[in-house]
């Protein structure tokens, strides 16, 4: 299976309710769990019937896992049949499934328009933004899994902390030593320079690239394509000045930086914002070489 099996963490619930002997609430919850499982089974049977009657449905096989709910601790796939409508995206189908069949189906989403970067997932074996993926373009049944190479928290939700740490490791903020004197004076930037960094500024932190990268899978400390792209965004911004660029090149040249990349282009292929990640990494390598030559 392409999805990493979630590592079973110790039951380390921080809520005191679980620490002592089972409370009344716990008993009620257990009871509820059992009933919820029955209810799910009933609805799924209904669904299958409906699907047989109605041809315009799509079949989704969705990865399910919850570390603390009985019956979900072992990862499994649930099947959902969703009535197809024109323009339907994978996210629409997931929302329909959740709101109609199983309210515990869990995935991150917010903007529904490919700007918040919440809903990157593994759809039919590729990293995709669910909201930007048309159902009509996919083979059925549609397999929906959490992003590979990340720890699964529940269903389609993965832990993003590692990705955020890498993003924040490259000093991802603008730095300069001089600002224009006048009040209300902006820094000047040429159109060419703004054009040069334009694609790199479009990153929405979805982590699809990181998930697709073999190197990142093998080396947990590798900065990864998105963080290197973030460094590129600043290193190439002429407003920062040469001395800061120097510092930036040192950061991306470290052991787990640009030299790890083996130009496999997987990140570039999956990026929903069409950022030429591999090119950016290659360009930084060239800059770093040029830069080192200066000091020899």
């Amino acid at each position: 299976m392409s999805t990493q099996t979630p590592t079973q963490t110790e039951e380390s619930s921080e809520t005191d309710a679980e620490a002592d002997a089972p409370s009344k609430g716990d008993e009620r919850r257990d009871e509820k769990r059992r009933r919820a499982a029955e209810e799910r089974a009933r609805r799924q049977a209904e669904e299958a019937e409906k699907a047989a009657a109605d041809e315009e449905t799509v079949e989704l096989k969705v990865f399910r896992y919850d570390p603390e709910v009985e019956g979900k601790q072992e990862p499994r796939f649930d099947t959902f049949h969703v009535p197809f409508t024109k323009g339907m995206t994978v996210l629409d189908a997931l929302m329909y499934s959740r709101d109609t069949y199983d309210s515990s189906l869990t995935f991150r989403h917010s903007c529904r328009q490919a700007v918040c970067g919440s809903d990157a997932m593994f759809v039919n074996g590729g990293q995709k933004l669910a909201c930007k993926t048309q159902i009509s373009e996919l083979e059925e049944p549609i397999r929906v899994e959490p992003l590979p190479h990340a720890e699964v928290r529940k269903d389609l939700v993965v832990d993003m902390e590692h990705f955020y740490d890498q993003m924040e490791a490259v000093e991802p903020y603008f730095q300069t030593n001089e600002y224009p004197d006048g009040e209300l004076e902006e820094q000047r930037q040429t159109r060419e320079n703004r054009e040069k960094i334009k694609m790199s500024t479009r990153c929405i932190w979805c982590s699809a690239c990181m998930s697709s990268c073999n190197i990142a899978a093998g080396d947990n400390e590798y900065l990864g394509p998105a963080a290197i792209n973030k460094a590129y965004r600043f290193a190439m911004d002429e407003r920062e000045g040469e001395d800061i660029k120097q510092k930036r090149l040192e950061i991306i040249e470290q052991e787990h930086g640009v030299w790890r990349c083996q130009t496999q282009f997987s990140c570039t292929e999956v990026c929903p914002k069409d950022i030429p990640l591999t090119e950016h990494i290659q360009e930084l390598k060239r800059e770093a070489v040029k830069n080192n030559l200066k000091f020899w």
């Binding site: 509820k32 769990r33 309210s103 515990s104 048309q134 000047r188 159109r191």
Partner: protein, 609 residues
């Protein structure tokens, strides 16, 4: 329990700016947000930020345009603050590295926008909001400001004196989405709400799924009035299946709207004989809905926006991102077929009542951004005026909460200035139906010391969650969609008395149904069923106050259209609508609009362009 000087709830443009400002003013500040900051909906803004940056422009002109655009329901002191401070705030963003589009000479680009007398909309391609959000989050990372992300704030911890003006906010109670832990966040100096829009009150919106108006509803239940909630901006060109916005640029370039019979209805049915497709947003939205209501809509739902005649070259050159949006979110190819569009909820002009420093009627409680109403947009927001609001008022609220001396406010909060009660009789009962769980300040514990108030609120929140998780009942989703449906059908661009009353009835039923709501997912891990259930309560409170305002305001002003009242009535209605929760018995009242600015008075004129 966590403790900081200032707690900012929300991490969109307003929240991030507030946090940076509070920290610069010396406060220990933390952000609590149900989404990771870069997921906030500020990232969806496309057009730009209005700022009078150039010599040929002036803040006075920007203020004039804004007052006129607001249909004279903006408060001049707030409007003038917006226009005076927007330039320095935009330059501040540039100094933080925001990649604005550039002119030949290397300065930031500005473009014309509807209702503006000067092209002062400063932009970064068609992704201004994305660039602004990320630039500010970068500054938050740089400064090491603490962010509690994926923590859903449930309620405010407010003392419960009889008069809201005597109450104090000491913090918030939040639920950790990852672990299910409920914790108090004590704020020694102040809490700033920056929770964004409330588009999910409607079933078709350009807003995000997370825009459920939580801050507005929490403040309301704690005793802060909601202001001017009936003023909702509907955008005429959104994609039918998702609500994704198709920019006005398509019509600006010559895109044409057609009905099912292939008629160019803006002209052929006489909606706007001069401006046609380029008439103002509310006029076009109403025209489209009329077509659909009279049976000339496509699939009884939408109309067509056609840009094919512009030719591939021009489309690719100027409207490329529109092709992507139509393709990705509607499966439509704008080069070979017309794109389906319909009106969608876009922006809430109203919100939490504040003064021009972001202060609310409750001590220690602030609001900024789309959730707040200072008021700068009045009855109608101009495009490009929301993003500057985030940075100007975010910063002001942050500084004030951190304890900076900022002078006397001119805008009043609560019933501290002139006010008058409304004499409108609603046919349907509104407010608390009982059993929805007591809200903050509903006469619960009488604690007044900060820790006591917070602890009591944490206990209440724990009991509430426990109850929702353990009992049997109905799922919130059907209640939410009923509310969204009735709001979209009846409190839309068309509003008439009978249907508004009906809506109050529907909302009453929804409140009754919500009494039996339960969460069927028993998990403590990432229980989005639970989060959505709590949000639905907020949607209910907002929908009701909004409908009350829409019923009581018997005139046509800005975005608020009434069938029975087709005129702006300045003699009676140069005033703000306020709705106070009043411990479960909502009360409607008014306060006058402030038209006196620093150097001049804005005399109401006809809003024609």
């Amino acid at each position: 329990m966590h403790e900081h000087d200032v707690i900012v709830v929300g991490a969109g443009g307003a929240g991030l700016r507030a946090a940076i400002a509070a920290q610069e003013a010396g406060a220990d500040v933390a952000i609590v947000s149900k989404l990771h900051p870069v997921r906030s909906h500020t990232g969806a803004a496309e057009g730009g930020i209005n700022a009078a940056l150039r010599d040929a422009d002036s803040w006075e002109d920007h203020a004039y345009d804004t007052m006129k655009g607001s249909d004279y329901l903006g408060d001049a002191p707030a409007v003038e603050a917006l226009c005076q401070e927007s330039p320095e705030e935009v330059i501040q963003l540039e100094h933080w590295g925001m990649p604005f589009s550039r002119e030949e000479d290397g300065r930031v680009s500005q473009r014309p926008f509807g209702g503006l007398s000067f092209p002062r909309t400063t932009y970064a391609g068609a992704e201004t909001g994305h660039q602004m959000l990320h630039t500010m989050y970068e500054q938050v990372v740089k400064r090491g400001i603490t962010v509690y992300d994926e923590w859903h704030v449930m309620e405010l911890a407010v003392t419960d004196e009889e008069d809201p003006a005597d109450r104090t906010c000491h913090g918030v109670v939040a639920y950790d989405i990852q672990s299910g832990e409920i914790s108090g966040f004590r704020a020694d100096n102040g809490v700033i709400l920056a929770t964004g829009g409330m588009g999910q009150v409607f079933d078709h919106t350009t807003n995000a799924v997370a825009n459920t108006g939580d801050g507005v509803a929490m403040a309301y239940r704690a005793g802060v009035p909601m202001e001017d909630m009936e003023f909702i901006q509907f955008h005429p060109t959104t994609l039918p299946s998702t609500g994704v916005l198709i920019s006005e640029g398509v019509r600006g370039e010559g895109g044409i709207l057609y009905n099912e019979d292939g008629e160019r209805f803006m002209f052929e049915h006489g909606y706007a004989n001069n401006d046609g497709e380029l008439a103002s947003r509310d006029v076009v939205s109403r025209a489209e809905l009329t077509e659909v209501n009279e049976g000339r809509g496509i699939e009884d739902e939408y109309v067509h926006l056609d840009m094919r005649h512009l030719g591939e070259e021009r489309i690719l050159d100027r409207l490329e991102n529109i092709l992507h949006l139509a393709e990705d979110f509607e499966g439509a190819d704008g080069l070979t077929e017309p794109m389906p569009v319909k009106p969608g909820q876009h922006y809430a002009m109203g919100g939490i009542e504040t003064n021009e420093f972001g202060e609310t009627a409750i001590g220690g409680l602030y609001a900024a951004g789309e959730c707040a109403c200072a008021s700068v947009h009045g009855a109608n927001r101009l495009g490009g005026n929301a993003l500057p609001e985030l940075i100007v008022f975010g910063k002001r609220a942050g500084r004030h909460a951190a304890g900076e001396e900022m002078g006397e406010a001119e805008v009043t909060t609560g019933k501290e200035g002139d006010w008058e009660p409304a004499d409108y009789e609603f046919e349907v009962e509104v407010g608390e139906t009982g059993g929805q769980g007591p809200a903050a300040a509903d006469g619960g514990a009488v604690a007044t010391d900060p820790d006591g108030v917070l602890e009591a609120e944490v206990e209440r929140a724990k009991a509430r969650v426990e109850e929702l998780l353990s009992r049997e009942g109905r799922n919130h989703a059907e209640i939410r969609s009923k509310v969204q449906e009735t709001m979209t059908a009846n409190v839309n661009v068309f509003r008439e008395e009978g249907r508004l009353e009906e809506t109050l009835g529907d909302l009453r039923e929804a409140r009754e149904a919500y009494k039996d709501v339960a969460v069927s997912d028993p998990s403590r891990t990432f229980n989005t069923d639970l989060i959505h259930t709590m949000e639905t309560r907020n949607i209910l409170d907002i929908a009701e106050a909004l409908t009350m305002g829409a019923l009581a305001r018997e005139e046509f002003r800005g975005a608020h259209w009434r069938k029975e009242h087709q005129e702006r009535k300045d003699e009676n209605w140069l005033k703000h609508t306020l709705v106070s929760w009043n411990d479960g018995e909502p009360e409607l009242w008014y306060k006058p609009t402030i038209l006196e600015g620093e150097n001049k008075t804005y005399e109401p004129k006809n809003r024609s362009y």
